[in-house]
Structure formats: structure tokens, C-alpha cells
Symmetry: C2
Subunit: 425 residues, 2 copies
């Protein structure tokens, strides 16, 4: 008997039929002898519909009111799910973020969880109830409703799992788990059985959409085992824990060097050409960029020319931040004394991720070799301990991902069982 | 400068355009120098849509979950209205029943208010904010959300007005106020300028649909002046207070004997024929009826026949309670020893209401005379201090209402100003 936290997203509870399907899933877990706490998102398009209503009333909704508005969505889905579970003969009750003890700061629209006091959830579980909790929302010290922003429901689930000392936090989604690459681009991509928090963070940050960065960070901090799996099948998904080592010692021997290949097409690149290579200018540039609220990802500075004393600085950032950042740099032209600034939104980023590369030299060389063999030019490079990222032309990205996936033996020709071993836990 | 509580129903906030219209109305009241607290219902069909969703999930939704589900509707409308008011440059914030301090008992679906602790609302008003409060909902001692049942939003408004010592509670509706009869049946019906709580209670109980009984009872208990008025015009509506006497002494002289004629077509009549006229049988009958959860209205027992020692008992009840009550009586046939039981759903009820009839004898005679002159047969009669009700054939009801309305000089040929005086307060 375990305590299982299950999170179902908006597409899993899109309509009455879906809610009944989720209810059956929850009841299966419960009748198998587990204690179950469920976190739900708003039904399908509810949140968009509410945003649309707000837009028809005002262009600038006050953040507090927007949060109250949007949290109605989860209240609807949680009550309906509780009803559907009761209908199947299993006791269930729904709880708002406030009732579940999800306490946040006061930053409406993107609140952080400052504490979880799940007394009522503990009591419900102790009474043999399935507790359904509204995702995405909490309450602040003013007793006002807040929303957690993007990835909020995943984060609610992980935070509750941590506070309840749950054995696992299951994140249900519409795919089977995490894959070595996006199966739409690499048809031979393989489902990952086990992966570390760190690698998952890199995957998520690099454009894998399934798990939210924030929830993974929370899970890592509190050591909550995540199980990412499909709401359409009962097969094992991907386990995210602090190690890829399973229960059997021999599996450790076969832990993979590379976990997967992520890609991201949503970034743009700004290049500031002919910047005086004197101390302080780069710092000034990035102050200006930060003031424009841009989230910078990669930065490359060329070696300066001895002859001119000038250098070029390139950095990538989300395309949505591009135009405003460009304007900010252009407005500071006198200050920065550059020759020219260019914006390029036709870039793609490929990232190779694997905790194993720490102890395996030569991964970079193998990556560059694979890209070169595929005739793909590398425009920027950045690395971390468990990741290598390169920028290519956007049009080359798919070919690049496939080439790298193959070069690192990630294709499905090999049996998963041999490479990863085990079936989770 | 007054403190005004304004209540807007679902049809007043049916869509984004309506919400913007209500916002303008609220802002007018605010900029005229008043403090304003607004109570809103759910938008248009929201509640029905949510009930429909629940029905697709289960036939028997747990009451607690149904309440959480339904209260989402008011949260949506209140947040949107707060946004729309802010958009007009006036500060507004929305508050759930819980946040507004609406405390109830634990009877989900039909909770009673046990206390109002409007600290946050007082603070908001003190800060110059318009406070928007979700109608129809409160929180119980378990910190669970409850709904107040039918008339819930009116009751929320009155309860808040009482707790805040508001100068007036304005109930906005889609008609101009209360009328001496339903204008669809009596085209010459006149708007009532002033009416007492007592008379309004009789009007509401007798089928006038504009104000809910419960809210009027609450207003009477706490002496909250009600102003029932149209959300489509700024003209004075109907004032409901503890007296029809206005500010001028001479107006008292002209206080009307009769306030209006109500009608009700939603009742049925059960007649139990040939009941032994011995002590205890009638009591037993009404025990059985009470156990069937029927809300009995009028009861008539014939004088028993000396020859047979048998009597007939008739009573009226809502049509919706008819079939179940009939079955309960039939099931108790051996017990009650009656000869026959009949059900008649083709009845109509007309009620003449007026605080003035207390001191004016002859009102009954005048009523019966008017009905007789119109050729209408009276099947049952019941009276209270300020009301006389009669049962007729359903098909005669419209003619009866018009005849009585005319007989008591309620038609609009007379100027309102002469009869009622004043224009409210």
C-alpha cells in the first residue's frame, strides 16, 4: 500500500467522458490498495475561454481578479471528478488550493509556493477518501486566491507529494513518457525508462514540453519520485528520480551515457557587431537586455580583432522577447558604441543531454563529428556538465536531431530492456 | 453619501456586454458619492450549464461537490465585473462568499446564513474600493463552500446590507419594480411605489416571482430597506420597507388598502373523500403528507355529514409534490379508511394582498362580489390578516385577476402620485 499523487492535465479532463475515464483510472489505483490524492487542471479550453471573456471586458485585467477568474476552471473540474469517482462507489472529495493548504506569496499570476499545510488532505486520506485537489492555485497571506503560472498544476502535484511524503507523483499526459527525441521528428525515438532530475531539467529547459521545469526542480529539491505516463494506457512510463540506477546492481553498469536529444525552434539570435572590446561594455549590454526582461540563453563572444580592438557578441533569447530587446539595444546605440545589431529568428537549437557524459570524454567530438558528417554548420556552442547545445539554421534542425540520435545509438533497433533494464519500480 | 448594496442577477450579467453595462451603473452610483457593495449572480446560463455537466457525470452528485461546482459561476462573474469597473477607472475588488464573511450552516445546496463577518468588505469600502461579492454562496464551519439555494443571491445582498448597516439594498431586475398584478395578465397593472415587508412576503409567497421570500424575510428581520428596480433604467422602482408611510404626513392618509393581486398557477389540489370524522384521522393524514415532503398551502375540511359521520378534506400543494403525495396517501388507504382520493392540477389561486385590509372590513365581501359578478366559481378560501386567497378553475384565473384588479381600483387610470404619493426616498 502506497500513497500515490496523480496529476491529470486539461486534455485528460476535457469533457464529461474524459472525466469518467480519469475517474476509472483513479478508482483502479485506489482499489489496488493505494491511498490516492489527485491533482487536476481546468477542463480542456476552460482557461482560454475565461481569458477570452476577460479580454472582452478589459485590456488590462487586474492580476488579482484574473487569478480569481481563472481558478474557477479547476474548481469545476475537481468537483466533477469527485462526483465521477463517487459514482463508481469510491469515496472522493474535492479541495481548493486554499483548502488543501497550498500557501503562496502574493505575486498574482505567477505565485510561488511558500508552504503546504495539507491537514485536510491527510485527514481525507486517513478517512479512506480519495482527495481531489485543484491544481495551479493557492492562497496568499491575505486569504486571496493566487495562481502559480505556467506548469502550475504539475508543481501543485509535486508540492503536495512532498508535503504528504507520497511514494510517487504520477504525471499523466497524452504520451507514454519522455523520449530520447521528439518522435514526430525522430520516428525511431525510444521511450526513456529512467532519467535523473538533472537530465530532465535540461530536457525541459531545452524544449521538451512534457514536464515543467519548475515541477522537476521542486521534485529534485524534495526527492519526490516522478512517474510520467500516459493516461490512455497502463504501461510504465518514465521514472524521474535522483539516479538512473535501478534495484539491480547490474543495471547500473548499463546506465546510458546519453539520455536524449532535445530541440528548440522558439529562439532567436541577436548579434551586436563591432563592440569596443573594453571592460564594462559587455556588462552594460546585458544590463540593457535584462532591463528589457529578456530571458537570455546562450552567449558567445568572439575573440576580438587585435587590429580594430572590436568584438562581436551574440546571444539567443525567446523569439517573443526579440523585438523589444532589439529596440532596447538600438536605443542604447550611443552608450554601447557598436557598429551594427542584427536579429535572426531562423535558428534552431539542438541539445544532447546525459548525466553519463560527465565521465565520458569525447562526447562533444562525437557530436560535432555527427553534425559535420550530416553537412550541418554549427553557429554557436554552449555546454554544461550534462548537456551540449549547438545552434544551427532552423531548416537544418530536424536532420541534425536525427543524425545525432543515430550517432549516439539512441534509435529503437536496440531493445530498451538491454540498455535500461528493469520496469521502473 | 450613503452605503448602497446593489444586487444584479444572472440576466443582468449574461455576457461581456451586460457586465460592462452593469459596471457603468455601479460607477454612476459610486461617482455620485456613494459607497457601493455589489452582489452578483452567475452569468446567464452558467449554473444550468454546470448542472448539465454534473448530470453527464453522475445521476446523484454529492451535495458538497455540487456546491463547489456551482459556486464557480459567481466567481467568474464577480471577477469579470471587478475588471470591468477597474477598466472605467474606479477601484474594485471581488470577494468570494468565504472572503466576504458569509458564514453558513453545513446544509449543502440550501445552507442558511448563520453569521456575516464582513471585515474585508468594510476595509475595502473604507479604502474607497467598490467591493464585488459572489452571491448565493458562503462557507461553513468546516471551511467548505456552501450554496444558499433558491433566492440565494438576493439573500446574500440583504444579509450583507444588514451586516454593513447599508442605507439601502437595491435589487436590480428586468422589470421596473413590483406591480399591483402581473402586467402580462393585467395590462393596466400599476407599479407599486411603496409596500411593506409583510405584503411583499404575501406577494412573493403567492406567486410573484421578482423577490425571493427568504430575502424579504431577512430584510424585515433586520429592517433593511429594499429598492427593487430595473437595471435597464434609472427611474425609481418599488421601495419595500416596514411602512408605506412616506415622509409627508398626508401621504399616510392615502395609504392604499390593497397593494396588489397575486396569482399562482403552479398548485394542485388533493381531495380525500369520505374520511371518518373521528379525532386523529386528519392528523394522521397530514403526518403522511408531511412524510412525503409536500409543502401544503391551503386546507379545507367540509362539515361532516350527520348521517354518515364522514367528511371530505381538500388541500393544495405544489404540482411537483402532487404525484408522490398521492402515492403516499394511496399506500395508507387501510390506515385512513377513506372512500376515495382525487387529484386536480387544473386549479388557479388568486390572492388579494394589502396591509390596509386589517382595518377595513368588507374586503372579503367585495372580493367575492367581484368574482361572482365575473361569473367565477370559488372552490376554496383561506385568509390571513393581510391576505385573502381563493382557488378557482385554472382557466378562469386570468379573468378573475383582471376583475379583482379593477374592482379594487388598482388600474392605472388613477395617477400613482395621488394614491401613493412621493417618489421613494
Amino acid at each position: 500500500m502506497a500513497l500515490v499523487v496523480q496529476k491529470f492535465g486539461g486534455s485528460s479532463v476535457a469533457d464529461a467522458e474524459s472525466i469518467k475515464r480519469v475517474a476509472r483510472r483513479v478508482v483502479e489505483t485506489r482499489t489496488a490498495g493505494n491511498d490516492v490524492v489527485v491533482v487536476v487542471s481546468a477542463m480542456g479550453d476552460t482557461t482560454d475561454d475565461l481569458l477570452d471573456l476577460a479580454a472582452r471586458v478589459t485590456d488590462e485585467p487586474p492580476a488579482r481578479e484574473l487569478d480569481i477568474l481563472l481558478t474557477a476552471g479547476e474548481r469545476i473540474s475537481m468537483a466533477l471528478l469527485a462526483m465521477a469517482i463517487n459514482e463508481l462507489g469510491v469515496k472522493a472529495r474535492s479541495y481548493t488550493g486554499q483548502q488543501a493548504g497550498l500557501r503562496t506569496d502574493t505575486r498574482y499570476g505567477r505565485a510561488s509556493i511558500v508552504g503546504v499545510v495539507p491537514e485536510r488532505i491527510n485527514r481525507a486520506v486517513g478517512d479512506g477518501q480519495v482527495a481531489i485537489v485543484a491544481g495551479f492555485q493557492g492562497v496568499n497571506e491575505l486569504n486571496d486566491v493566487t495562481t502559480l503560472g505556467r506548469g502550475g498544476s504539475d508543481t501543485t502535484a509535486v508540492a503536495l507529494a512532498a508535503a504528504l511524503h507520497a511514494d510517487v507523483c504520477e504525471i499523466y499526459t497524452d504520451v507514454d513518457g519522455l523520449f530520447t527525441a521528439d518522435p514526430r521528428i525522430v520516428p525511431s525515438a525510444r521511450q526513456i525508462s529512467r532519467i535523473t532530475y538533472e537530465e530532465t531539467l535540461e530536457l525541459a529547459a531545452q524544449g521538451a514540453k512534457i514536464l515543467h521545469l519548475r515541477a522537476v526542480e521542486y521534485a529534485r529539491r524534495y526527492g519526490v519520485p516522478l512517474h510520467v505516463r500516459s493516461s490512455f494506457s497502463t504501461k510504465e512510463g518514465t521514472w524521474v528520480t535522483d539516479t538512473t540506477v535501478g534495484d539491480q546492481e547490474e543495471e547500473a553498469m548499463e546506465a546510458p551515457i546519453i539520455s536524449g536529444v532535445a530541440h528548440d525552434r522558439s529562439q532567436g539570435k541577436i548579434t551586436v557587431v563591432g563592440v569596443p572590446d573594453v571592460p564594462g561594455i559587455a556588462a552594460r549590454l546585458f544590463e540593457i537586455v535584462a532591463a528589457a526582461d529578456a530571458n537570455i540563453d546562450m552567449i558567445v563572444q568572439n575573440v576580438s580583432s587585435q587590429a580594430t580592438g572590436l568584438t562581436d557578441i551574440s546571444f539567443t533569447l525567446p523569439e517573443s522577447d526579440g523585438p523589444a530587446t532589439l529596440r532596447a539595444i538600438e536605443a542604447a546605440a550611443d552608450d554601447l558604441q557598436y557598429a551594427e545589431v542584427r536579429y535572426d529568428d531562423q535558428i534552431g537549437k539542438l541539445s544532447l543531454i546525459g548525466a553519463g557524459m560527465r565521465s565520458h570524454p569525447g562526447v562533444s567530438a562525437q557530436l560535432f563529428g555527427a553534425l559535420s558528417a550530416a553537412g550541418i554548420n554549427i553557429e554557436m556552442i554552449s555546454t554544461s556538465e550534462i548537456r551540449i547545445s549547438v545552434v544551427t539554421r532552423a531548416e537544418d534542425l530536424d536532420v541534425a536531431v536525427r543524425a545525432v540520435h543515430t550517432a549516439f545509438d539512441l534509435d529503437t533497433e536496440e531493445s530498451e530492456a538491454v540498455v535500461y533494464g528493469g520496469t521502473g519500480r
